[in-house]
Amino acid sequence: MSVNANYPNYRGPVRDRVENFHGNQLVYVMWERHLLFCAPLTFLADPAMAFDAFLAEVLTPALAPHPESEALDFAEAQWRLDGEDFTPRGDASLADNGIGHKSQLRLITPRLSDLADAAI
């Protein structure tokens, strides 16, 4: 049973289906062990946007308040996508990289400063 309802075959409306985002989709990004941002970030993005453009235009400005953002080099970073290791193709779109609606990307960087001791 997928819900405890008092009539059979109850189906709930899916409130966050991609059609509700007017041509965009949601992408979540967690910068692992960088807890100055209290939670992973939620972005609205065009699925046709190139991955490199997403990094330059969306993610970089969002991470700017972090003291380590200047030392952050995406070329040195590792990625995970929805729980799997992931090697992005920079010129391919989010969609072509397999980054779907409500996918979670994880950014994993080498030690950049002493802030890492407290996972800031």
């Binding site: 405890n4 509700n20 209290c38």
Partner: protein, 503 residues
């Protein structure tokens, strides 16, 4: 003379007439048509007459007791307002706890009133119906007395002016709202297990005692007084909560696994909800009462541990993931305050970095976690603020599909990694903060696919557009610079200083 005495009913007889005797056997309608929600959850009641009323209280006496309590309560409210009670509080930062209470907790009381009125209608047993009726009226009374208690502060401080509107819209208030709506949209037996047992019986001490003691330690006479006035009602609700669980478990062995699943679910939901109480205790009270970790140890691990031992004979085990709450007690209050601090432009109260003295208190109370993880974070924030770069997070956080809290809580076995679970249901991906919330979704996905997640609603354009200032100001009705932002430099701080100087 003898004849006159014999006309008076003895207590037991009078009680029977005023409660059980109010019911009747239906003759021309089917039982299941009169009580259409009693069966669908799978709970089997073989004999409603086995219900023991926890309190021998009848409606006529109930009104008398409550009226007396109201008279005392309102006499004190009058005295507080005539004596400028708002100036007697320890520190204006304290009022932020009151703002949190009126926006997050008082609307729950109102929802409880509606919830008990509904489920009271759904039970075939008259004893259960009367108990729900009384609790329903209690909850409405609590709503009213809380509003009246805080209305005095509302004349002098910000953040309280639109609390029912905010409850329905503001991002963090979706946490208590969705908690209660989950219970209210469940069947009547799950509602009672969730609210009467898991919340009122197991967790209520962790909600009311911190707020009421916090008020007492910080000179807030109105909140202390409504707390006292509600105490005998709360005692009745707690007794009812335990009675309900024992009654259902004794009725049929098939009820045991259903109740167990609800206990697992509602302890976890309640625990997540109480994160805001933890941060209130550890960060918002200028004069501290006890730490969240101490409160959890005393009221959940010790008192709750004894309770679940008592329920063992029915085949009930302690709630799943209770061990994670024990690990979490050293983290959640810090993590919760840190969320509010960085989204302090979108809160109807002020936030701040703890003072050096407060940080020392936190180090002492949290020797394993505070200095290692949280002090460095607050020191960095203090430095940023001193440079005029007070940190506000201008992006939106990822939320848990079930509890709706940002995914800001760390893994039970790795306190530097944010806890995250996900699943794909019917082609759509869903994200959770924990195993507990993930399991709740898996059990009833069709319920939680509908969750109104504030971040997603903003990004769908349903909260007044893409401009966050408009969302906060127009849609939430949080007045920029009046209700929100850092306490340092706030309107509240300036006004307080001016009032103190005038005295």
């Amino acid at each position: 003379m003898n004849a006159k005495t014999s006309k008076r009913l003895n207590m037991k007889e009078r009680y029977r007439i005023m409660t059980r005797d109010l019911g009747w056997e239906p003759s021309y309608q089917r039982y299941e048509d009169i009580f259409p929600q009693e069966g669908f959850e799978g709970i089997k009641i073989t004999d409603w007459d086995q219900w023991e009323d926890p309190f021998r209280l009848t409606m006529d006496n109930y009104w008398k007791f409550q009226a007396e309590k109201e008279r005392k309560l309102y006499a004190i409210f009058d005295a507080v307002s005539q004596n400028n009670g708002q100036m007697k509080i320890s520190d204006p930062r304290y009022l932020n706890a009151v703002k949190l209470f009126i926006t997050a907790v008082t609307p729950l009381e109102y929802n409880a009133y509606k919830g008990y009125a509904r489920v009271g209608r759904q039970f075939g047993g008259v004893g259960a119906r009367i108990a729900c009726q009384m609790q329903s009226i209690d909850e409405l009374r609590h709503t009213q007395t809380q509003i009246h208690a805080m209305s005095h502060y509302n004349k002098y401080f910000g953040g309280m002016h639109d609390f029912p509107h905010m409850f329905d819209r503001v991002w963090y208030l979706s946490v208590p709202k969705s908690f209660f709506e989950d219970a209210s949209t469940a069947g009547p037996f799950e509602f009672l297990t969730a609210i009467s047992f898991s919340f009122e019986y197991v967790l209520t001490n962790l909600l009311f005692l911190p707020f009421m003691s916090g008020a007492a330690y910080n000179g807030d006479m109105n909140t202390v007084t409504f707390g006292f006035s509600a105490q005998s009602d709360e005692a009745r609700h707690m007794t009812l909560g335990l009675e309900i669980i024992k009654f259902i478990l004794e009725q049929h062995e098939d009820n045991v696994p259903i109740i167990q699943q609800w206990l697992d679910k509602w302890l976890w939901r309640g625990y997540r909800l109480l994160s805001i109480v933890g941060m209130m205790m550890d960060y918002m009270l200028p004069n501290k009462v006890m730490s969240w970790a101490e409160a959890w140890t005393m009221y959940y691990e010790e008192a709750g541990g004894a309770l679940f031992k008592e329920l063992e004979r029915y085949g009930i085990r302690p709630p799943k993931y209770a061990d994670q709450t024990v690990i979490g007690k050293d983290h959640v209050s810090h993590q919760a305050w840190f969320i509010f601090y960085q989204y302090g432009h979108a809160t109807a109260f002020n936030t701040w970095v703890p003072t050096a003295k407060e940080m020392d208190w936190l180090s002492e109370k949290y020797p394993d976690t505070f200095d290692r993880l949280y002090r460095p974070r607050f020191e960095l924030l203090a430095e940023k603020a001193a440079r005029g770069e007070r940190f506000y997070n201008n992006t939106l956080p990822q939320l848990c599909q079930v509890c709706q809290i940002p995914l800001a809580i760390t893994e039970p076995d790795d306190d530097t990694l944010l806890s995250h679970r996900d699943t794909v249901h019917d082609g759509e991906r869903y994200h959770f903060c924990s195993d507990g919330c993930h399991d709740i979704f898996q059990h009833e996905p069709e319920k939680y696919v509908q969750a109104w997640l504030p971040v997603h609603q903003i990004l769908q354009g349903n909260c007044g557009g893409a401009d966050m200032e408009k969302v906060i100001g127009d849609y939430y009705r949080i007045e920029m610079g009046e209700d929100n932002l850092d306490f340092e430099g706030s309107a509240e701080q300036r006004r307080w200083a001016a009032w103190k100087q005038a005295v």
